[in-house]
Amino acid sequence: LVRGRKLDDEFYEELEDILIQADMGIDTVMEMVEEIKEEARVKKIGESEEIFPIVQEKIEEILLEQGGGLNWAEEGPTIIMVVGVNGVGKTTSIAKLAYQFKKEGKKVLLAAADTFRAAAIDQLELWAQHAGVQIIKHQEGADPAAVTYDAVKAAVSRDVDVLMVDTAGRFHNRKNLMEEVGKIKRVIDRELPNAPHEILLVLDATTGQNAVSQARSFNEMLDLTGIVLAKLDGTAKGGIVVSISKELNIPVKYIGLGEGMEDLQKFDSREFVEALFE
């Protein structure tokens, strides 16, 4: 696709294919390619080499419109809620963040608010041990809101810097499950002003257009503050975050690059866009 190509229909079709293949979504892609064609015409661009910087710039623009850092509490513990559909990487992402914060010298507490899935509490407990952080848990089948309430109380009384609440995977088209996660948020908000300070949606980078629907629904219920894009170490490009960024303006804050505690990086839009074209 790269050098010395004529900017004809075939070229633009192949460009579309690259972007579609990255899961950027056909509507977003068609709109973007139209803009690029127009820009090429206006700027009288004839070389295919000059198109790529334009494409990268356009995508980066969409992604950079948002702030990247975490919102830390002015005083008291920072509360981070982690949500998302089943199996995307919520629990593992929490383990990675816990490890990261611990390395930064922060006092970390985890809340095992997935009281539903088989061995979910065991899984988070093992990660807590591995990362060397504390955990608040009840028995399986307990009310997630009750676990959360206890965890917030403990976060304050133990004077921790950050509390992370792990929730059960849930599909966004299950009204009762979405209301449950709304209730968890309210419990936190009631106990601590301005909390939760972060509500992160974890997305699986292999997900297609349904990710946009997930983001919309979770955002509607919770007012998301950020996205964690997990499993970017596979062959999927995670282009779904471009449409999500465009439509909902939710910033991608972290990316997951593996199954280990260290496999987390802050989101960098330039590196992300470069990887789209690899």
Binding site: G87, A119, L126, F171, H172, T207, N210, D233, T235
Partner: protein, 292 residues
Amino acid sequence: SLTDKLQSIFRNLKGKGKLSEKDVKAALREVRLALLEADVNYKIVRDFIKKIQEKAIGQEVFESLTPAQQVIKIVNNELSELMGGTQSKIEMAQDPPTIILMAGLQGSGKTTTAGKLAKNFKSSGRSPLLVAGDVYRPAAIKQLQVVGERVGVPVFNMGTAKTPPEIALASIGHAKSNNNDVILIDTAGRLHIDEDLMEELQEIKKVVGPHEILLVVDAMTGQDAVNVAKAFNDELGITGVVLTKLDGDARGGAALSVRAVTGRPIKYVGLGEKLDALEVFHPDRMASRILG
């Protein structure tokens, strides 16, 4: 919906007659968009549209249908045929135990599906055995044990000290001495580009010779589905696919991509977190869902 979009395309087609090339191409442009929105891989979409174009051009429009309905019917039939038409259940082996190997990406639903299949086999009079072949994920063995308890099926495990091929091999002896006639081997999620872990699966296959190798695929998977399916099939040789999390609202185009690139049948679909949420795959229902 796609039907509405096509109706508006064909609004100018007066009365009956044959589907012209111009009309079919206009209609298929909409079908292409629908398939891409549904996450069908762009290459598969291209081949599919070409095929439909050849079939549709020059066709007589049926008495009872509008041209739009006619095109949808052709597309729907072609899609259903593409996705079904072969044996969609698990065959019992001539000499037991029947060995089933679960494989797939991280988080796709292997452990839960193994439990669902075990429950299914138990209620049809079989004596299944679940095998804890994931020695990596924290609490993976415990998860399978809880699942086994919930469906009343025994779980064979050797902790995390043995390798998955060793565990798989030992499970056969265990099954035979306990009269289990179906073995379901759960494995760790892995990337198709992880050479060591793909080799581990090949090793398991070599030592136990599974009768079924099921690729478990998340219904919300996007364009990457072809890469995953092709790699697992090329390196392992899968015998079937289970499409999970179909109770979500993903259109599920991955189903077509996986089927097109491997030629293997989708045998079951996962429709929820509960261990009874498993159904046989219905190609015609999947076709309508993908088309939206």
